[in-house]
């Protein structure tokens, strides 16, 4: 077929990209705009620099578009290895900014290799998953795919840049698309819910809830006679141990009183199942039950001892366990005030007061969405959400159109990374997600992030141009 391989670039995505970048720049200008000195050509101002970064991005995009698609496939691992090296070097010689040792500084230009690493990791994941015969059912393949993601994640964690590291967890979505069993994803989500619950409600209540849900599930699944006996036996044990707990002077938590009963319950259920060789689903559920219990009992420890103070505070504030409008809650509170003050139609461009006078910290980088909320109101903020949503849907649509697995995986990776940034960044500015310092793609000020996101997107668009070629 003539010209099949020379399909034109996807102009819809390019249009969405341009809209986001331009609207983003206008907001950076607003965030830095000083009504007393409305100068434009000040090379020290972020909005001027951002123009330069945008210019460089266009240059990079040009280079990407003239590079052969096969190059990305062939050089995926080399590129990946190179960025891993950069991540290690930055750990040793990097510059520490805001507590994270993740920046190279060369003259006036600062560069964050973690942004580049997203592109490289995405390429490497696409390469790994598109290898002939790859299957998540093979444990070795699962391990390899996981290692590709976990390596850079670990290095970035070591840089103390938790936010950027968390982005890599989003690859689980890509894996899911490529055939990873839903159990792991479900398990991850359930674990996250349980972990959050442990911080809000007492452990004993959670364990109680877990055991009730497991009994309920087993009841629906069958095995009713054994279940009845096991439950009665467990209840008797529970009453006994509660009596002991009540009338002795122990200081152990209430949740441990439940354990003997659950233990008896589990052993009996397991015994009947194994002895009668029926209800083979029971061990799985018991495994889930005990994992949940272990997670519950260890979550407090993880929360108290693994997380650092500021992270714990941010989570506490988010969950409403702590009121701290001047401390950890300050950013979010001010951010909500700024966005809330925008009203339906906003205060008008450059008319914002909250985002002008530094009430919102990091207002041109992580909290750029506040400027949108304040000056463009509900209509503007919703428009941004819709723009991003359109971008994601378009990317997924394009990814599904790819003939080669490499391109498809890569496309999903791009969509997932954007989605994660979008969800966390906007979520934190409106108080729905913990404050994790990651930028809003194309909006937040910063050369590294803009280049990173542009590379990520346009490599995919280049792959898309050749979508009908079976690149691999």
């Amino acid at each position: 077929m003539p010209n099949r391989s020379n399909k034109s670039i996807d102009w819809i995505t390019v249009g969405l990209y341009s809209l986001l970048v331009i609207f983003g720049w206008f907001n950076i200008y607003a965030a830095n705009y000083n009504p007393e000195h409305p100068v434009f050509f000040d090379t020290n101002k972020e909005y001027f620099k951002q123009l330069v970064w945008i210019g460089f991005s266009l240059l990079f995009i040009g280079i990407i578009l003239i590079t052969d698609s096969k190059f990305y496939v062939e050089f995926a691992y080399i590129f990946y290895g190179f960025t891993l090296l950069l991540l290690i070097v930055v750990l040793l010689f990097g510059k520490e900014i805001n507590g994270a040792k993740s920046w190279f500084e060369v003259g006036p230009i600062r560069f964050q290799p973690a942004e580049l690493a997203k592109v490289a990791t995405n390429l490497a994941v696409a390469r790994a998953l598109s290898r002939y015969g790859f299957s998540f059912d093979k444990f070795g393949d699962l391990l390899k795919a996981g290692a590709v993601v976990l390596f850079p994640m670990l290095l970035i964690l070591l840089q103390n840049d938790t936010g950027s590291a968390l982005v890599y967890s989003v690859f689980i979505l890509v894996f899911y698309r490529e055939g990873l069993t839903g159990y792991i994803l479900t398990f991850g989500i359930v674990a996250a819910i349980v972990a959050v619950l442990t911080l809000i409600v007492p452990n004993s209540t959670i364990i109680g809830l877990i055991i009730f849900s497991v009994i309920g599930l087993l009841y629906v699944k069958g095995a009713r006679s054994a279940l009845l006996k096991a439950t009665i036996g467990g209840s008797v044990i529970l009453i006994l141990s509660y009596a002991v707990y009540r009338f002795s002077d122990t200081s152990i938590g209430l949740e441990y009183v439940l354990l003997p009963a659950i233990l008896v319950f589990s052993i009996y259920m397991l015994y009947t199942t194994l002895a009668k060789r029926i209800n083979k689903f029971v061990p799985t559920y018991l495994l889930i039950l005990w994992s949940a219990i272990l997670l519950t009992l260890s979550a407090d420890y993880l929360f108290e001892d693994i997380l650092s103070d500021y992270q714990r505070n941010r989570i506490d504030v988010l969950l409403g366990l702590k009121e701290d409008p001047l401390g950890a809650g300050y950013n979010v509170n001010q951010s909500k005030i700024a966005i809330g003050s925008g009203g339906l139609i906003g205060k008008g461009y450059l008319q914002g007061t909250q985002t002008k006078f530094n009430f919102v910290p990091e207002q041109s980088t992580d909290f750029i969405y506040c400027t949108v909320g304040e000056e463009w109101g509900f209509i503007g903020s919703t428009a941004v959400v819709i723009l991003f949503l359109s971008l994601f849907l378009r990317l997924i649509y394009l990814a599904e159109k790819q003939h080669s697995i490499f391109s498809r995986v890569y496309g999903y990776g791009v969509a997932s990374i954007f989605f994660f940034h979008f969800a966390i960044n906007i979520g934190m500015t409106i108080g729905l997600a913990p404050v994790i310092g990651i930028p809003l793609p194309f909006f937040s000020y910063g050369g590294s992030s803009l280049w990173g996101f542009s590379l990520l997107l346009f490599v995919f668009l280049k792959l898309d141009i050749n979508r009908n070629e079976l690149i691999r």
Binding site: I337, S341, G343, F359, L432
Partner: protein, 605 residues
């Protein structure tokens, strides 16, 4: 993905459209209200002389968060501070921050009241000291070192007062005593508000909404007092080195011309920063200079009270102008004796006042109480008491001083309790000569003199004469009748005239002012704590009274020793503006008289 987008949009809708609370937060974030303090009203005396004005002072304010390291030596030099003092101030500031008295974000006072020169030199260098700025304010300025008790003072509002009102905020200045307190609402004016746009560090970025919401401050109203500052100062000089009080009233209007409480102090001592130093000194003084004796001290009225008992007797009909009583060195019964001094006998009513005969009033008072018209001593005593209340005794008169003492007038119940209901007119005989349980304030005594001058009525004594654009309280124009018929005053007033002018045996001959028909009555109040108090009440001229006066000199002895000469000098000064050469010796003796240090010297010997 769609679900999350929906959640975001919903949350945005709640934040931006549904819930208005974030809009208010945003306003208070960026808008700083700066209070505009109006200048306090000026105070004039009855002749238009300026008594109290305002002076500008400057406070150094600090926003602790904005401080950056600065040259402390330069700072100290421009403020005339020592390095230790500066360190102390910083230690204090840190303590205040820790105890949450002050905020690190908001301005608070760092150093109070710069002088004009300090302000000049500091303002020039201000750019070097980030976080500091200077705020102007006005303080009171007193033109005369006088009238401290009348004027009162202004100071920061107390936390207790703050709770019950909405106008003032912490650190606001408010009248604390005297007319500053009474006429606070008129003098203070109305605070204004100015709104400034500020950034997150509280730095000013111009007017909020171009000043459309600003409210200009309204200056306080000027007030004019009925006080005569020249007479007041003369009175203070006469009372120098004495303890006591002078109150002079214009009888026809009830206006207070003079209110001296001795010892007094210079009101400038209690301005601003100096107050913290001077107030404790004044408060610790054993002579209690802060105490306004004119309205707060209670003394027995002494013999001056004989005029009142005579009026009651005449009105009750138990006494006639021609009634005579014998007296030989006092009033003697089997149970008790009330002594008297040597004078002619028998005496009629006017003569009894002229000579201040104690025995006459013992007879006279018993006639009132033993009046067969009343069924019991209780009934007759309460009738007598009711007269006293009408004369303005026993209750605060309602002048424009808030802490007026009401004095004390006993009723029948008082004695029922003391004597278990078995008492008679002889038991309370000391009331006949103004001793015993009866207590009055100098203001009440001056009011009594004004009532006598008016022949039976008085107006509530007051010191306010005029308030800019506002009428003064109607109660100060209201006539208070005493229900004593006019004809009963003639013998009393004749007696008071004779007391001064009656020649040999008259008690107050020293009060004679040639050419002025002054009427007076001496009093000597027995004082269980020491020497008798010297008392004199007077008014002049007799037929067209311009001034009524009461003088108390604590531990001064006879009324004629200190009270009468001081009162007559005051009257002469007020009516003729000078002291006649032939009375200069009296003036000299009064000015130089020293009852405070003399006593101390005596004790030393």
């Amino acid at each position: 993905m769609l679900g999350l987008a929906l959640i975001f949009v919903t949350k945005l809708f709640i934040l931006q459209v549904y819930d208005p609370s974030y809009k208010f937060s945003a306003e208070s974030n960026t808008r700083r209200k700066v209070t505009q303090y109006p200048s306090r009203g000026l105070v004039y005396d009855r002749n238009g002389k300026l008594l109290v004005s305002n002076q500008a002072v400057y406070d150094v304010m600090v926003v602790p968060r904005d401080i950056v390291a600065f040259d402390s030596i330069d700072f100290c030099e421009s403020l005339n501070l020592s390095k230790e003092e500066l360190r102390e101030r910083f230690v204090q500031m840190r303590q205040d921050i820790r105890s949450r008295k002050i905020s690190t974000y908001k301005p608070s006072v760092f150093f109070k009241q710069l002088s004009a020169e300090q302000y000049g030199s500091f303002q020039e260098k201000l750019y070097k000291f980030k976080g500091f700025f200077v705020q102007g304010r006005t303080l009171r300025k007193y033109e005369y070192p006088s009238s401290s008790h009348v004027l009162g003072y202004v100071g920061e509002i107390s936390e207790k007062e703050l709770k019950n009102q909405t106008y003032y905020t912490q650190g606001d200045y408010v009248g604390i005593s005297g007319i500053e307190q009474t006429y606070e609402e008129e003098l203070r004016g109305q605070k204004g508000e100015k709104y400034l746009l500020v950034d997150v560090h509280g730095r000013e970025k111009g007017a909020f909404k171009s000043g459309r919401d600003d409210i200009a401050a309204i200056a306080g109203k000027n007030i004019t007092l009925s006080l005569d500052i020249d007479l007041q100062q003369y009175g203070e000089q006469l009372m120098k080195n004495k303890v006591g009080s002078i109150v002079a009233i214009e009888p026809t209007t009830g206006e207070i011309l003079t209110m001296v409480s001795a010892p007094n102090y210079d009101p400038s001592l209690l301005i601003g920063r100096d107050r913290s130093v001077n107030y404790p000194v004044l408060a610790a003084d054993s002579l209690k200079p802060l105490f306004n004796r004119a309205i707060q001290s209670r003394y027995p009225p002494g013999s001056t009270f004989k005029t009142i008992n005579a009026l009651i007797g005449l009105q009750e009909g138990t006494l006639k102008p021609y009634t005579t009583h014998e007296c030989f060195m006092g009033y003697h019964t089997r149970a008790l004796s009330v002594g008297c001094h040597m004078h002619d006998s028998p005496l009629n009513l006017s003569q009894s006042i002229q000579h201040s005969c104690n025995a006459y009033y013992c007879f006279e008072f018993r006639d009132i109480l033993d009046n067969p018209k009343y069924g019991s001593i209780q009934e007759s005593f309460n009738a007598w008491k009711d007269y006293l209340v009408k004369f303005g005794f026993g209750y605060a008169l309602g002048s424009d001083f808030k802490n007026e003492n009401r004095g004390f007038v006993p009723n029948a119940g008082t004695f029922d309790r003391i004597y278990n209901r078995s008492w008679n007119s002889l038991t309370v005989i000391s009331l006949s000569i103004g001793q015993g349980e009866l207590l009055t304030t100098p203001l009440q005594m001056a009011n009594m003199a004004a009532m006598l001058a008016n022949r039976g009525h008085f107006l509530t004594p007051h010191i306010i004469k005029d308030i800019e654009e506002t009428p003064i309280d109607d109660k100060y124009r209201e006539l208070h009748e005493t229900d004593i018929e006019l004809q009963h005053f003639a013998p009393i007033i004749n007696g008071m005239e004779l007391a001064v002018w009656g020649g040999e045996g008259s008690t107050a001959r020293i009060a004679q002012i040639p050419g002025i028909s002054i009427c007076g009555k001496t009093g000597t109040a027995q004082n269980p704590h020491g020497d008798d108090h010297s008392i004199f009440i007077a008014f002049a001229p007799k037929d067209d009274p311009q001034i009524a006066i009461a003088v108390y000199v604590e531990n001064g002895g006879f009324g004629a020793t200190w009270g009468a000469p001081i009162a007559s000098l005051m009257v002469e000064k007020y009516l003729t503006d000078s002291i006649q050469p032939r009375r200069k010796w009296i003036e000299k003796r009064m000015l130089e008289g020293d009852l405070i240090h003399a006593k101390q010297k005596q004790q030393e010997h």
